[in-house]
Chain length 97, copies 7
């Protein structure tokens, strides 16, 4: 099977949501009924950034970082068997280490 | 029959939505009940871009590219027997290769 | 009977909606129940443009061109027996040839 | 009886709506049930214009001109026995000759 | 009894609504059921104006002038036995003479 | 008991709402059922102001002044036994003397 | 167990909500049924600030400060057993000492 590559546009960020198990081991527990609560995920691909008054503003997160993001702002897709989500940079709230 | 040519204005992009079969072979599966999920399609025609403070900002996608876009943002039309959709550039989320 | 002339203001465009028959012959079929789908029409008159930060930005379409426009954005009038609609430039999506 | 004079502020325009009879003779028929359809009227008084970034932008229509305007955007008043309406310039769509 | 003085802030204008009797003698009749129709009143106090990009833009009306204003935009108060209303300058539509 | 000090941020203003009795003696009567009517209060603390395009715009009211403000815009708190409210400067309509 | 570190992005602020007991001892009582009332908390981590026209505007609060913030504007998370909330700077109303 040919692998599909997704290149986000503008300040979109492709994120792989992290499972509840992973979150527990790192000490984060999010009630799964809470739709408006932020979600934890790993950055898979990052767009080039947004153009503001003629200047490109690069995205603040990098591939591989773990982030908290607003789940309801994202656009969910399934690719190569994986569930991913495309999130605008402004909906990413924090980096997790 | 005379072929009709559609030239998008501003940052509008004319897209040919890709069928579920095509998407499966490339590894993407989108539940068809999900109205708010992004859709995959091929760019057919691209507008000249948007004018921002007197400068033309060209569109970030090109004819022939496969893209993910927000389905509900588009304006669907039927032309020469084909179903197409006119989408604003900002509703295109990513390029697919 | 005296003919009435309509001169659109700002970036308004006076459009003569094209009938379903016309659209079929050119290969375009639009389901007439679809209120939110774009409509095809012919440009009858064009306003001088919008003033943005002291500069006049002329309208991108010309008298006689066939265009696709968002039907629900327009203001319908009947004049000299004809049904016409006044549409803001931003609601015109594409030029049709 | 003393005549009352109304001087519109900013880009407000005082308009005398034209009756259905007048409109018919000039070839315009507007279904009176259509609340969201534009209305025809005569400009009675014009405000000085809007101030944009320190500069006064004069109003595009003149006293005596016949115009099409969005009826629902106006503020109706009765003065000296006449029904008039105060309309913001942006709700005037076209000049009629 | 000590008189209370109200000094409006920004572009707020303190207005004394005029009674139906007054309006009739000057030729203006406003149906009192019409909540969204403009109201006539007399300017009692005027704020210093709004600051736009560092510059103070003074208010366009003066103490003592009779004005038409959008009733629903105002903040009604009762002071020294009088019913008054605080209106933003943008909700004043015209000066009446 | 240790006194708690509240220092408002930005253009927030800490206000002590004035009781109905106080208002009556100064000639102001506000129907208490009227939720959208402005309220009278005394300024307790003032924020440093809002930053607009790099410049700090100080707040227009001072500690100790009596003001009219839009009640529904405020954030009510109880501190040291007192009911107070945090109001954005734009919701303060007038100074009362 | 490995400790998880949260680094807020932009002008987000990580806050530890303070319990009702703590608030009472400092003289603040907030009715717990009042969802739209501001909440008291302690600043745990602060984002780098927001970029406005190319310039970074740092956040106005510091780690360790006690603040009043709009509860409904925050994004609640649970980390290392603690309930925390990510709040945009604009939803922080005042500093408490």
């Amino acid at each position: 099977m040919v692998k599909t590559k997704i290149t986000p546009l503008f300040d979109n960020v492709l994120i792989k949501p992290l499972e509840a198990e992973v979150k527990t081991s790192s000490g984060i527990i999010l009630p799964d009924s809470a739709k408006e609560k932020p979600q934890m995920g790993e950055v898979v691909e990052v767009g080039p950034g947004k153009t503001d008054e003629g200047k490109l503003v690069p995205v603040s997160v990098k591939k591989g970082q773990k982030v908290m993001y607003k789940k309801w702002g994202g656009n969910e897709i399934k690719i190569n068997g994986q569930e991913l989500t495309l999130v605008e940079e402004k909906d990413i709230l924090a980096i997790i280490e």
